[in-house]
């Protein structure tokens, strides 16, 4: 009895999933979480683009039934609604159907993501790269300042269905550029050197002007009394001889009678 009800449930589930099963097989989940490149990459996030690392050697293409033609695609969802749209349609719709509603684009062939690929350069995908893009499938610039979630998925071109996918990335917040007019160009605080030079030079200038005043005053004072004091000012040493008439005459007179 117990096992029968289980059986019934299984049958009903199978019946319910039948139309889906006709379109696609089950999607295998990769463990790789899509991530923005490291902080040493200057343009990892701009206002309309971001740069993702590539999941090289994360998809097991052999077990996915890919011979050599599988493709790796990326979906960039700009809102929760777009995420849900992808999740609801990934099993029911072909990729070409989904591209009419979502930002989905091709990011490389199976060989570029295989383990044995030999390219040792930086492996990145720049989302929002193509400025000339007009459709959903050509990786055009994203809306400025938007929040984006991405996931990689593998498409088998024979059936045109999703065969494997990664989880959604965490939120990637694009930059909202600041208006340059808001930049504060004030330097904040005067430098010590400026204070020192200004203070000292002002003081010295004031002192010099004061000295000039003193100089003029002192020369005027010494020049003015000069006229009055001129006899006194004469150097007493400069008088060579002073005739004392009476003394000389008295001497002469005293000598004269003899």
């Amino acid at each position: 009895m117990h096992s029968k009800s289980h059986m019934d449930l299984f049958v009903w589930t199978l019946l319910a999933l039948l139309p889906v099963g006709l379109v696609t097989a089950q999607i295998s989940q990769s463990t790789y979480l899509p991530q923005v490149t490291g902080s040493n990459v200057a343009g990892r996030i701009t206002s309309t683009t971001f740069t993702l690392a590539q999941p090289v050697c994360y998809f097991d293409f052999q077990s996915l039934g890919c011979t050599s033609t599988c493709e790796v695609w990326l979906v960039a969802a700009k809102s929760a609604a777009e995420k849900n749209l992808y999740d609801s349609e990934k099993t029911t719709q072909s990729v070409t159907m989904m591209t009419s509603k979502l930002d989905i684009f091709y990011v490389g062939s199976q060989s570029a993501y295989a383990c044995n690929q030999t390219n040792n350069g930086q492996r990145v995908v720049r989302v929002g790269q193509n400025v000339d893009c007009v459709s959903n499938t050509c990786n055009g610039p994203l809306p400025m300042g938007s929040t984006v979630n991405v996931k990689y998925f593998v498409v088998n071109p024979i059936t045109n269905n999703v065969v494997s996918e990664t989880p959604w990335s965490t939120n990637i917040n694009l930059l909202s550029p600041t208006d340059p007019a808001t930049i504060d160009t004030w330097f904040g605080k005067r430098s010590a050197g400026m204070v020192v030079i200004t203070a000292i030079l002002s003081t010295l200038t004031a002192i010099l002007l004061l000295l000039l005043l003193i100089m003029f005053c002192s020369t005027l004072r010494t020049e003015d009394p000069n006229l009055i004091k001129s006899p006194i000012n004469q150097d007493p040493y400069k008088i060579k001889r002073y005739d004392t008439h009476h003394v000389r005459s008295s001497t002469y007179e005293s000598k004269f009678p003899q």
Partner: protein
Amino acid sequence: MPGKGDPAVRCFQIALILGNVVIACSGIALSAECIFFLSDQNGYYVLLYATGRDTIFAAAWIGLFTGFAFFCTSILGIYSIMKSKRKLLLAYILLMLFIWCFEVASSISAITQRDWFVPNLFLQQMLQIYQAPLPTYIPSTQDQIYIINGITNSWNNVMTTYQCCGVNGPQDWISYNSTFRAYNSDSQFPWPRQCCSQAGDGTIVDVNACIIGIPNYVYTQGCFDFIAGPLNRHAWGVAWFGFAILCWTFFVIAGAMFFYTQLEA
């Protein structure tokens, strides 16, 4: 005052003459330094002119002339002190005071303007003016044409010459709106091509790697040090060398004033 032959007077005269010789030498040196600054080897004048903070160049011009004036006047001073001529000495003192005031102005404005050279000053200007379209009507906008062309060329020159990008780094170009951004998509030109590393022959090593911003393909260093560095050094020289000369000249002028008061009318 004792007579001319007095050894004390002789010593004082010699001291004053030596002081003037030093002023003459340093005056010429100040002139030379200001000429070097004014020659503006890197073409940064326009960067300051556009911000209205170009008084540093005015300070250097004043310094250039006062340096030479110090040189000439100190020779007059030496002559008047040797001959002990009162009228000449008075002329010397007044001239020196006159030049002193100008040199004070030069030194103070140089050190005051130096404070303005902060990264944001150049950042705002770069974002607003770099690659701005030229105004179409002439001649009322000659000044703007000079500023736009000058700033665009200066920045292109600095970034390629010193292998730097923006004021603080390539992030400046993506974290702010700018005139450059208004005319160039973030996707195609996150920063100007001048930020891209160049090979020996001047070609860009890898444009795509540069756009992504991978180290060694884009210059990650900011240009602030290469712009403010020379400006700051020169302004420092004009201000502090001027200040040193002024301190020395203060004592010489004061000595000359004292000598003047002691001379016989």
